[in-house]
């Protein structure tokens, strides 16, 4: 067994899992955070995307032991107790998701982009989502949703300044 101390969505969690447990399995089965999904288990579809120390990774390709002492953000940690993240709000308003299975991965990949580049072009958004597959939507409204979220954040920052 491997002892893991991991901060998930701001909360410190201490647990023990067999070494062959992936970070995805740890989140879904041990910590009951089922937002990250198992789509292919090979790092091809991006449905398992989470942020580890702020960096977007495929949770299915990381062993739980490799996430020891790290900070992990899952989709469940994006909305705080007061409000949605602008990405979640924009996606809801525009109807960006259909079946929703790709949603958590896509939203976190978009967050990874926006955190580093608050003013991306449509091309930048496409490239940032290159590791996330969606079979329902054709990506159009997803890209619109990310763009709308960026505008929302920019507007809020202007107000704050």
């Amino acid at each position: 067994m491997v002892d893991i101390t991991i901060t998930v969505n701001g909360e410190k969690r201490i647990t023990s899992v067999p070494p062959e447990t992936t970070l995805l399995k740890l989140l879904r089965e041990k910590l009951n955070l089922t937002g990250a999904k198992l789509g292919c288990d090979a790092g091809d579809c991006g449905a398992c995307t989470v942020l580890v120390d702020g960096v977007a990774v495929n949770a299915c390709l990381m062993l739980a032991g490799q996430a020891n002492q790290r900070e992990v953000l899952t989709i469940e940690g994006l909305a705080d107790s007061q409000k949605f993240h602008p990405l979640q709000k924009a996606f809801e308003e525009l109807g960006s998701l259909q079946c929703g299975f790709c949603g958590p991965g896509i939203i976190l990949s978009a967050k990874y982009l926006i955190d580093a580049h608050p003013n991306p072009s449509v091309e930048d958004i496409r490239k940032a989502l290159s590791g996330n597959l969606c079979r329902c939507t054709g990506y159009t409204k997803i890209i619109e949703g990310v763009a709308a979220a960026c505008r929302k954040i920019a507007g809020a920052t202007d107000k704050a300044a």
Partner: protein, 464 residues
């Protein structure tokens, strides 16, 4: 105790109960974020128009929060996991299956083979598909045995220990070859051609005789996998009254219950299917796949049993879109009017019928295209091959023939030197046109749509 005392008597009047959670003392845990959806309620007797209203998807909020629960996100007390062993050979007779070593593996609670299934055949049109192959394997993704174990890895380890002895049979992969008399037969004794449809309208011989030109073209499309992001998943559980509940990604509940009733030989009113939020279907989840297997494993073990397809299973063991070979022959007047058309459709029907019959019907009717054709003959057939079964996928036969008849139209327009838009306007359905099967069509707006669309995307500018 005094036998005469009234047991329900109140000593004092009840205090009024609080109406909201205001009276709840400080929560013991941090308040979870709650995001209730606001609902707009109309005033009584107020007529609210719906067309033109902006509406948000009712599931959009949960999706964004990552709170939507799909089957694999669900867990029941005592739940165990099932995995299915895939044949890995395209065509073979099963000589023997030995599950004894698998059953002794740690964590394994039960195994299942085809022979144990009460009625091991199902299908929407022909019941030709086994849940688990019992005598003949007809495609490499055919399941041959299943295991239920405490963990998924234990189930996978046990699959490796199942010994199946195969006698290889000659496989057939090409649908055109499969149509020959002496081709290997996918289903013993029966011709590989398992469904035929024809459409006959008018007199094609006369139509061709009256044509100034005749054009031919052959078009083919490939097998496509729906690849919905959520794999097939289901959880089966029995209650003490011998009723089974299946939480499943299945898209058709009533059909599923009927199939389960037939396969498990039990009354339909003892079968409950809970169709949950699904992560994409596109036709691939239109029929049962592993539900009866999970139900039987749940019966054997007395535990809820969950089965989730791997991505590999999705590609090799779940239904796909039919490859079609389409041969078109069209007689045209020199003005560009279609005088006659014959179509030959060969549908690669995979190892089992599944939705091929329905797909073939649809393809047959639509193969002429939305054009006025007085003289038409369509001959279509579905052919067994030793490949993954072909079933329902978005369009049900329409996408394939649309590719063919529109490409054919463009080819003919080029040959005749007629504008591709013009040739379609000449031939398109009008109000009151007859469909290939003689239906009188109403509310026909093809010409208006074509003109409006070509105006909008700049056809005039583009074709210069």
């Amino acid at each position: 105790m005094d036998d005469k005392a009234r047991v329900g008597e109140r000593k004092t009047a009840p205090k009024s109960l609080p109406a909201t959670d205001e009276a709840l003392r400080l929560p013991a845990v941090t308040k979870k974020a709650m995001f209730p959806l606001e609902t707009i309620t109309a005033k009584p007797r107020e007529q609210t128009p719906s067309v033109g209203q902006r509406a948000t998807r009712h599931d959009g909020r949960l999706h964004g929060l990552g709170q939507t629960k799909y089957i694999d996100d669900m867990s029941f007390p005592g739940m165990i996991h099932a995995k299915i062993k895939r044949a890995g050979v395209a065509h073979a007779r099963i000589k023997s299956i030995d599950v004894s070593e698998a059953e002794r593996m740690p964590g394994v609670m039960a195994t299942l083979v085809g022979k144990e299934i009460p009625v091991n055949r199902f299908g929407p049109t022909y019941q030709d598909q086994p849940l688990l192959a019992d005598d003949i394997v007809r495609h490499a993704g055919d399941g041959v045995a299943a295991v239920a174990a405490v963990t998924e890895q234990q189930a996978l380890d046990a699959l490796e220990k199942i010994r199946v002895e195969y006698q290889p049979l000659a496989p057939i992969f090409d649908p055109l070859e499969a149509m020959h008399e002496d081709a290997p037969k996918v289903h013993m004794g029966h011709s590989n051609i398992y469904s035929s449809k024809t459409v006959n309208k008018g007199d094609v011989e006369k139509g061709f005789a009256d044509s100034d030109y005749t054009f031919e073209g052959t078009f083919s499309t490939q097998m496509v996998e729906q690849a919905s992001l959520e794999p097939h998943a289901a959880i089966a559980e029995w209650d003490p009254n011998e009723r089974v509940t299946l939480h499943s990604s299945l898209g058709r509940i009533t059909l599923g219950r009927a199939d389960l009733a037939r396969v498990l030989v039990m009354p339909i009113n003892r079968i409950r299917i809970v169709a949950t939020v699904v992560g994409g279907n596109f036709g691939g989840k239109n029929e049962i796949t592993h539900e009866p297997i999970l139900a039987l494993l749940a019966k054997k073990t007395g535990r809820p049993v969950k089965g989730v397809y791997s991505r590999e299973d999705e590609f090799i063991s779940s239904t796909t879109r039919h490859p079609f070979i389409m041969k078109y022959k069209t007689g045209m007047s020199k003005e560009g009017k279609i005088m006659a058309r014959t179509v030959r459709l060969i549908c690669d029907g995979g190892a089992y019928c599944s939705w091929s019959d329905t797909t073939l019907s649809k393809a047959c009717i639509l193969s002429a295209g939305p054009y006025n054709i007085d003289n038409l003959r369509v001959e279509a057939c579905a052919v067994y091959t030793n490949k993954t079964m072909t079933g329902a996928m978005r369009g049900f036969g329409a996408p394939q023939v649309c590719f063919a008849y529109e490409s054919h139209m463009d080819d003919m327009a080029k040959e005749l030197g007629i504008d591709p838009l013009e040739i379609r306007l000449i031939n398109a359905f009008r109000e009151g046109s007859l469909s290939p099967t003689g239906q009188v069509l109403e509310s026909v707006v093809i010409k208006d749509s074509l003109l409006m669309a070509t105006e909008r995307f700049g056809w005039k500018e583009w074709k210069k």
